[in-house]
Subunit: 212 residues, 4 copies
């Protein structure tokens, strides 16, 4: 255990937070622009998309509420925000842009919430928290990209809004593996439970079974 792990443990961080049903699934920004290393993609994002296919299929089979997010700015850029000052290329993602469409592997189906967003967190400037509350969600499984950007921001906000974040580690990806790892470390210590997909599916099934 590193010196860093030691101080976190000594100060009381990183407690275990078991999944609690009902569950929901949030898939953050798996859109064409982030799947493409030539635009906003790269690193382990492609692998995360492929891994999320099975997660989404299982979420649907278990009838969990499912949410997808897309980055969408106005065609004329009238809603350019501070984020767009730091990352001006992000303004290329507008309603009809190919880069702003959800990847073919993870197309939404009827009854799933599809949110437009212009900030890192899927909760900011959207009705996501309300939608999850209305469905009594207690634990939110999170897939998507990037780990160090919109995933982390959504995890922090999920926690603030009263939901237990469960980061599915092989279903989140980042253009930088170093940033991916550093942010998983932070989230594990302070904000979320981290599990591989198959473990997450097993654990959530086990807790659901206890209820019935």
């Amino acid at each position: 255990m590193s010196a860093d792990h030691t101080i976190y443990q000594k100060q009381g961080f990183g407690a275990t937070m078991p999944p609690k049903p009902p569950y929901g699934l949030l898939i953050v920004d798996f859109i064409n622009g982030f799947a493409d290393p030539g635009r906003f993609g790269g690193g382990n994002i492609h692998a995360a998309i492929e891994c999320t296919r099975g997660l989404l299929a299982e979420a649907r089979s278990r009838k969990w509420p499912v949410v997808h997010t897309r980055v969408v700015y106005q065609d004329d850029g009238a809603d350019a925000n501070i984020f767009a000052l730091k990352v001006p290329t992000i303004l290329s993602l507008h309603e009809a842009a190919e880069g702003s469409q959800i990847v073919p592997q993870l197309q939404p189906v009827g009854g799933e919430l599809v949110l437009r967003k212009t900030n890192p967190s899927a909760f900011f400037g959207t009705s996501l928290a309300s939608w999850l509350s209305q469905r009594s969600v207690q634990t939110l499984l999170i897939a998507g990209c990037t780990t160090s950007g919109c995933v982390r921001a959504s995890v922090v906000d999920a926690m603030c809004h009263g939901f237990r974040p469960l980061v599915v580690t092989d279903c989140v990806g980042d253009r930088s593996l170093q940033a991916h790892d550093a942010n998983l470390f932070d989230m594990n210590q302070k904000y979320a439970t981290l599990m591989f997909r198959d473990d997450a599916l097993d654990a959530t099934a086990a807790f659901e079974a206890q209820l019935s």
Copy 2:
């Protein structure tokens, strides 16, 4: 330049975002409990507190709006939240607890906003954004701790709420220097301008001078 820097630059991240007046100063959680390595402190937090003394003095002299935050839970823990599930020791910080008081070096004075919070971001569950908007703040200088926790969460939210975050790098600290560095990297690429204190004071003065 590392491979990571290269991909961020190529994709359009990390643009320069100059400070724009009016300014405000946010000091995040410089309370006794986070100043003490035996409780939630350590790393470079003590140095950051000392550096912030001069920043706060200058902010007052320039008549910037100043905000301090404290972590405060209800005495009976009735407001225990998801954050407290991950970090149960945080519940020791309540209204009258010594650990929840602002450090002696940075005591608030009349007219400064002092916010109680129970989540990482200084904006969540508070009226901070409204208070800054009412004062026309455009750029928010940010000091405090921890860099990888409440500072970063506040930076992301500052940006979402329409304010340019300016992280004063020698006035923010973390129990883990590795987490400190990793989070400064992320914030620089995506969310904020980073400057040492003296550079920040120079730059903000220069932009203010242009206006008069």
Copy 3:
């Protein structure tokens, strides 16, 4: 039925929204300053406070999550907001002020959430929505004052946050009976279910019984 009722009905407003468990109880601003006709009280507020005693007792006996709000500004008025521009006398309500304490009849007990607020809605600038979500609340019973002010604002926000508002009509009061009635009309058409206290207690019990 008045002409107004007719157009609302014809356009599809005012649908029936049955209470759905789990329940929670929100008591808005039953503090000394609003109980006193010489300060912010009057009208049917006193009667509403008396009626709320039985509601609170029953909520505790059923182990519902209970929330109380108080209006509290900083001692130095540093957090004076737009509301305080329209109602400058409101700044007299600060942490230790007698007017800002909850009325003796409805004192909170351990485990109940007590929120400070400076805006009409109990949700704005507080963590109320998160707290209710974490407890899976689906229907929020609302008592308090004033019907045309903080109660209505809280009802609108409860709905936006995904909770079914149930206004307990004899447990909400206003300094103006005309404003009381006009706002009950609006809430009934667009935002909430309205019931007298005893009907609300019967109805919620009936729906809870269906579940067990």
Copy 4:
């Protein structure tokens, strides 16, 4: 003066709040569905739309930030919320629906913010407050419909977010004139400045002139 006016005045409500530049203009839900008395319209809504033409023209000429809102639910109703439980017909307003398009008289032009919303307040679940803050707006002129619904909810939230609401009384309308009047009364006492269009344009020009 009525007895009601007297108690409000005696308790310190209804203070004068002069417009303070910079200004912005919010036009709430002037969409075909609310212009049509056969769907959600009626009362004085048509007159308010006509009056808003001159207001919008002047706002553009003065280069104020301008915002329009539309009610838009997902095509499949996956985002049906509590509001839609009370007003089920509202779900007919989706992206391509004729009823959800802004009225021909008030078509947005490039650079104006156009927001989709599913709740009464133009601020809830949108980035409106952030957009106004980024533009330093201090006073928000508000036109639209309905006075007793989405206008009032937006006024309350504008105030909470730190903006001075200026309700342009001949540019807001309601299907019920009684509800229109009752809500203007409440807003005047507690939340907003009320002015006729021509007075508002004169007053805002006068305050702007003081600055230059």
